[in-house]
């Protein structure tokens, strides 16, 4: 091979290689950025889930449920003789 084309091919290949490297790095950063964004979203959704879960637990407060049952629904406490265990139940 002649000297000039060889040098051109050699230099071009190296330049292409450098560009591929840069592209690969930028892709990695892009994916990493997307991953971090998703992680942030996941964390905020988890926080919302926890907050809703806490609200649900607070609504299940036994004292409030009892008060509602007695005052609003006019329910009265169960006596022992009102309860029968169904065999096999």
């Amino acid at each position: 091979m002649k000297k000039a084309p060889f040098i051109i091919i050699f230099v071009s290949a190296h330049i292409a290689f450098v560009f591929v490297q840069i592209h690969q790095y930028s892709q990695t950063i892009k994916v990493s950025y997307q991953k971090q964004k998703n992680e942030k979203l996941k964390n905020s959704l988890e926080q919302k889930k926890q907050s809703l879960n806490n609200q649900l637990i607070a609504l299940q407060n036994r004292a409030a449920v009892k008060q509602y049952a007695v005052n609003t629904l006019q329910m009265s406490p169960v006596n022992l003789n009102q309860i029968k265990k169904v065999p096999g139940g």
Binding site: I29, S32, Y33, Q36, K40, Q47, Q50, S51, N53, N54, I57, A58, Q60, N61, R62, A63, K66, V78, N79, L80, N81, I83, K85
Partner: protein, 541 residues
């Protein structure tokens, strides 16, 4: 000629000047690249690499049915950066009205970089700060805890401002619940903000491990409501109750009244109400201990169930020149030993205890008094049993009916659990352990256990086809070295059983308003109510 000469001189000066300039640059490069290479490399690394430590979320605490007893929540804290305030006068005006303590701290630490205004803000305070539009006050989310069951507050405990366990299970298992933080190194530049190019884990942490308690939330709630009603009915100082499954030692409910709200501790000034007194307080429990003295006497063979004991038919008598009083309702003449306990006669039990001598101490120790029960709970008291070396002539008499012996309610429940568990030892526990335990040592013979159950059955109450047998105790409180018979503690310990179903219940009421009451009218009705509620709960569940 002169012009050329001048030109050469000027060229030389410029050349030398540039040489000097290059020499300076090369010298500077030498300093940066070679001599101080490590310093600059470290400085660069510091700017590109940020090390952060991240604590894992604190693990939850569950009850036996996997209901939450402690769960995470985010709290909001407000902070300022005192060295870079935009509008100090506006901030100070706001703080002086709403957060005066923060203003004082600001004046004392004007040069600090960071200062909290207040941590764990209430919803109203968050709104107040939001509405004020003061740019200098910034909000920050911090982890904290939410406790769904108020009546379990004294067991579960709370976390402090930094979310570390302050007392109760939160304190005892702090390391397990908190886990271990991870340390990461992030590579970023000045423009990448919260995002990073690379993340390296320097220290791998560990997530916290949840804890499952033996407590049943529903039962705990029901028991605490009944306890509250009794305390209020008698205008008592305080009360406590515990329910144990004697076959495995699991504590199903353990409650104290008054209680505190673990979700609102800002105004908490009386730390006394945060104590789980079932475990952390000891008392002279009085006649309820007679059951233990009787068990010791039966096991030692110094008395028989039907043996007649002369209780002298009087309120006051003397044994070895030591005065003994018994309450008027317990006065009896010559009666069988079984009735001595049923009537709770102090004279009769003292006569039998005299036959036991120092061995009564060994039997009390065998029943777990004067030593810790083995429960994993902070601040457990071991109580005291007066050892024979310290005895006066009165000691054997006092020990037989519950004085010169201090015990926690948990220890009393354990002693009754041993009886309910056919004489086998019981280790009370609050933690559900998946590992199976072999049956422990049999401390008392079946004959003695059966005999003591027969005695207890004399005060039995049948609830449908379940048997509730119990023993009450009314003790005078020791105040300034003197027993005060106007201030009493009322205890009742019982066993509820039918076949394999067994439960031990202990209730305690401290210092009622009305005088001359007995545990039979204060504590026993509560025990019966709890037994009925327990059966309803267990049948429904």
């Amino acid at each position: 000629m002169t012009t050329i000469k001048h030109y050469k001189i000027r060229a030389s000066i410029i050349f030398l000047f540039f040489c000097f300039l290059y020499a300076c640059i090369f010298f500077r490069l030498y300093l940066i690249q070679i001599k101080y290479h490590d310093v600059y490399a470290h400085m660069g690394k510091k700017q590109y690499h940020v090390t952060i430590t991240q604590a894992p979320p604190r693990a939850p605490i569950y009850d036996r049915s996997h209901h939450y007893l402690a769960v995470n929540k985010d709290s909001v804290s407000a902070f300022i950066l005192p060295k870079s305030l935009e509008n100090q006068s506006q901030l100070e005006k706001f703080l002086s009205v709403h957060f005066p303590q923060a203003l004082t701290r600001l004046h004392n630490h004007k040069n600090s970089y960071f200062m909290y205004v207040k941590r764990r803000l209430s919803d109203a305070q968050i709104k107040l700060i939001g509405d004020s539009n003061i740019a200098d006050i910034k909000l920050l989310n911090e982890p904290s805890r939410f406790y769904p069951l108020q009546s379990a507050g004294q067991i579960v405990g709370i976390t402090d401002i930094d979310n570390n366990g302050a007392f109760g299970i939160e304190l005892e298992f702090n390391a397990q619940l908190a886990g271990k933080p991870s340390t990461f190194t992030l590579e970023n530049d000045a423009r990448s903000g919260h995002f990073y190019f690379e993340k390296q884990t320097k220290v791998q942490g560990k997530t916290g491990t949840p804890i499952t308690l033996t407590i049943d939330s529903d039962l705990q709630f029901i028991i605490s409501q009944e306890l509250q009603a009794t305390v209020e009915q008698h205008d008592a100082k305080e009360g406590a109750a515990i329910i144990i499954d004697p076959q495995n030692g699991q504590i199903l409910a353990m409650t104290n009244w008054p209680m505190f709200d673990p979700n609102n501790t800002d105004d908490l000034t009386n730390m006394e109400i945060t104590k789980n007194k079932v475990v952390t307080e000891v008392y002279e429990l009085g006649s309820v201990i007679k059951m233990c003295a009787a068990l010791a006497a039966l096991e030692e063979g110094v008395v028989q169930l039907d043996e007649l004991i002369d209780c002298q038919n009087r309120i006051t008598t003397y044994i070895d020149h030591r005065r003994i009083n018994t309450v008027p309702v317990s006065v009896a003449g010559i009666i069988p030993f079984s009735k001595v306990i049923a009537k709770s006669n102090n004279i009769g039990i003292a006569i039998v205890a005299k036959r036991l001598g120092p061995k009564i101490y060994d039997y009390y120790k065998k029943l777990g008094f004067g030593q810790k029960t083995g429960i994993t709970f902070p601040g457990e008291q071991k109580g005291f049993v007066n050892p024979p070396d310290n005895w006066s002539k009165q000691s054997i008499i006092s020990l037989s009916y519950g004085y010169e012996i201090t015990a926690s309610l948990l220890q009393l429940a354990r002693a009754f659990s041993i009886v309910a568990n056919d004489g086998y030892d019981v280790i009370p526990t609050l933690i559900i352990n998946t590992q199976s335990h072999d049956r422990t040592d049999q401390l008392f013979s079946m004959a003695s256990i059966q005999a003591i159950k027969d005695i207890m059955k004399k005060t039995r109450k049948d609830i449908q086809d379940y048997t509730l047998m119990y023993k009450t105790g009314t003790a005078n409180k020791l105040i300034d070295g003197q027993y005060d018979n106007t201030k009493n503690i009322f205890t009742c310990a019982g066993i509820l059983e039918k076949g394999d179903y067994r439960r031990v219940i202990v209730v305690f009421i401290n210092q009622v308003a009305k005088r001359n009451l007995l545990a039979a009218t204060v504590a026993a009705p509560l025990l019966e109510k709890l037994a009925k509620k327990l059966l309803i709960h267990d049948k429904v569940m």
